[in-house]
C-alpha cells in the first residue's frame, strides 16, 4: 500500500491542481483579510483583531478540500489510472486506502498552508489577539486541521465510491454546500443573538450533536465544545469513510 500511497501523494504534489489550490488559498486569504481590515477601518475606525483574520480559511475549507480530492481522484477514474493500478497487481483495498490517506494528507497540508498565510496577514494587519489567548487560538487552528482531514477522507470516499458516474462530479460539492446551509441554521438556533434558545427535545439533541460532532460545522471562529468532541467527530467520519468505502469499492465494477 505504501508504494501506491507514495505515488498518489507525489503525483498530486507535482500536479497543477495542487499549485492552483495553494494560489486559491493565498488569493482568498488575502482578499478576506483585506476586506476585514478595510471594514474595521471604515466602520469602526479600529484595527482588525487577529481572530478575524485567522478565520479566513473557514468559509472556503470544505469546498477547497472537496474540489481538490475530486480533481485528483475523479481524474484517476476517467483516465484509467485505477484500472491500470489493479492490472499492475495492487489490491483494491490498497488502492482505496492509499486514496483516503492521500486525501487526508493533502487536506492537512492545505489547512497548514492556509494557517501560515493567515498568520502572516495577522502579523501585518492586526495588533494581535483581542479576545483569545495564544493557546486557545492554536487549539482552534488544530481543530481546523483535524476537521479538514475528516472532510478530505469523506470527500475522497464519495469520489471513489461514485467514481465513473456523473454524480461523483458534484455530489461532494453539493453536500458541502448543504452542510454550509445546515451549519448556518444550527448556529442561528443554538446561539441566537437575542434571547434564549427556543428549540427543545429531539430537535435540540440533533442540532447539538451536529454542532458538536460534524466536521463540516467545525470551521468556526471560536471553540464551542471541548476539543475532544472535535477529535471524536472527525475520527468517526474518517472511520465511516474507510469502512463504508472499502465495502463498496471492493464490489464496484471498474470500467
Amino acid at each position: 500500500m505504501l508504494r501506491t500511497f507514495y505515488s498518489d501523494f507525489r503525483n498530486y504534489l507535482k500536479s497543477t491542481g495542487f499549485k492552483i489550490g495553494v494560489i486559491v488559498i493565498f488569493g482568498y486569504v488575502t482578499f478576506f483579510s483585506a476586506v476585514m481590515a478595510l471594514l474595521y477601518r471604515i466602520a469602526l475606525h479600529d484595527i482588525v483583531p487577529a481572530e478575524d483574520v485567522l478565520c479566513s480559511y473557514c468559509d472556503m475549507a470544505a469546498f477547497l478540500i472537496t474540489g481538490s480530492t475530486l480533481l485528483m481522484f475523479a481524474t484517476d477514474y476517467s483516465n484509467g489510472t485505477i484500472r491500470n493500478k489493479i492490472l499492475s497487481g495492487a489490491k483494491r483495498s490498497e488502492i482505496y486506502l492509499s486514496a483516503i490517506f492521500t486525501g487526508i494528507l493533502i487536506s492537512l497540508i492545505y489547512s497548514a498552508i492556509a494557517i501560515v498565510f493567515e498568520l502572516g496577514f495577522a502579523l501585518v494587519l492586526s495588533d494581535g489577539l483581542a479576545i483569545l489567548t495564544v493557546s486557545e487560538e492554536a487549539g482552534i487552528c488544530l481543530q481546523y486541521m483535524i476537521s479538514s482531514m475528516a472532510i478530505g477522507a469523506f470527500s475522497t470516499m464519495l469520489v471513489m465510491v461514485l467514481g465513473g458516474l456523473r454524480i461523483s462530479y458534484f455530489a461532494g460539492l453539493v453536500f458541502a454546500f448543504v452542510c454550509n446551509i445546515i451549519s448556518s441554521e444550527v448556529a442561528d438556533k443554538l446561539y441566537p443573538q437575542e434571547g434564549p434558545v427556543m428549540i427543545t427535545g429531539a430537535r435540540l439533541f440533533l442540532y447539538t450533536a451536529y454542532d458538536r460532532f460534524m466536521p463540516y460545522a467545525h470551521f468556526q471562529q471560536f471553540q464551542r465544545w471541548p476539543f475532544s468532541s472535535y477529535v471524536i467527530g472527525s475520527a468517526v467520519m474518517i472511520a465511516i469513510s474507510i469502512l463504508v468505502g472499502l465495502i463498496i469499492f471492493e464490489r464496484k465494477e471498474i470500467r
Binding site: 471594514l39 474540489g67 480533481l71 476517467s78 460539492l173 453539493v174
Partner: protein
C-alpha cells in the same frame, strides 16, 4: 446554428440528469408550496411565497448541470466534427447558450406547474418575482455556460461553478451585514446594486426574510440581470476562433 441548437435540445430532453431535475422541480415545488409541509422557516409564508422560496434550488441545479452537459462537446471529437462540417465555434457557443436557456425555460414550466398544483395562485406581484428570478437565472446560466464552454473539462468547470455558487451564498450573508451595519447613505445605493448583481442576492431580496432595504426594486434587478446576460454572452464569444482544439 439552428441545426446544432435543435440537436442539443433533442439531447437535452433525453438527458437523464435533466429529466430527474425536472421531476424534482415539479415534485419538490409541489411539496414545498403545499401548506401540508410544516417546515419552520416556511410555515408562516403564503403559498406563493413558499413557491418562490423553492426556486433557489434551480440555481444550485444549473451550477452543475450546465458543466456536465456542455463539455460533452469536447468528447469524442464532437466539436472538431462540427467545425469540419462548416460551423463556427461562435455558432456552437451560442447554440449551447440557447440550449441552456431552453433548459431553464422547461424547468420553469415544471416548477410553475408544481407551484400551481401545490396551491399557489399567480398574482401580478408574485409573477413579477418569478420573472425577476427567471431573468437572473438566465444571466447565471450564461456565466456557467461560459465557464463550461471555455474550461472544456467537466470536473474543473463543475468545481469552478460550485465554488462560484457557494461564493454567491457567502456574499449574500456578508452583504446583509454590510448593508445593515456598515454602509452609510453615501455608499448604500452602490452596496445595494452590488448585492443584487448576485443571483442569490436577487432571490433573497425577494423573500420575506430579507430587510426591505436590500431590494432596489424589480426594474433595477431586471436591468442588472439583462446587463450581465448580454455582457457575458458577448464576452464568451470573443476570441473563440483563436482557440486550439485537440
Amino acid at each position: 446554428m439552428f441545426n446544432i441548437y435543435k440537436a442539443s435540445v433533442l439531447r437535452l430532453i433525453k438527458n437523464l440528469p435533466f429529466i430527474i431535475g425536472c421531476l424534482i422541480a415539479i415534485g419538490a415545488t409541489y411539496f414545498i408550496t403545499d401548506t401540508g409541509l410544516k417546515l419552520e422557516f416556511i410555515v408562516n409564508l403564503s403559498n406563493e411565497e413558499r413557491m418562490f422560496f423553492a426556486s433557489a434550488a434551480m440555481a444550485l441545479y444549473f451550477s452543475f448541470f450546465t458543466t456536465i452537459f456542455v463539455p460533452v462537446e469536447y468528447a469524442d471529437g464532437v466539436i472538431r466534427n462540427r467545425i469540419i462540417s462548416g460551423f463556427s465555434q461562435k455558432q456552437i457557443y451560442f447554440a449551447h447558450l440557447f440550449t441552456q436557456y431552453t433548459a431553464v425555460l422547461i424547468m420553469h414550466v415544471f416548477y410553475l406547474t408544481g407551484g400551481l398544483l401545490g396551491g399557489a395562485r399567480f398574482t401580478g406581484k408574485g409573477m413579477l418575482k418569478v420573472l425577476v428570478f427567471f431573468i437572473s437565472l438566465l444571466a447565471y446560466v450564461t456565466i456557467t455556460n461560459l465557464i463550461a464552454f471555455r474550461v472544456k473539462k467537466v470536473i474543473v468547470s463543475t468545481i469552478i461553478t460550485m465554488v462560484m455558487f457557494n461564493g454567491c451564498f457567502n456574499l449574500v450573508m456578508f452583504g446583509n451585514v454590510i448593508l445593515s451595519f456598515v454602509l452609510d447613505d453615501k455608499y448604500f445605493k452602490v452596496g445595494e446594486v452590488i448585492y443584487n448583481l448576485n443571483i442569490l442576492g436577487q432571490w433573497f431580496s425577494n423573500t420575506r426574510y430579507a430587510e426591505s432595504f436590500v431590494n432596489p426594486g424589480s426594474g433595477i434587478q431586471l436591468i442588472e440581470s439583462a446587463s450581465i446576460l448580454i455582457l457575458i454572452a458577448i464576452l464568451g464569444s470573443i476570441g473563440l476562433k483563436k482557440r486550439e482544439l485537440k
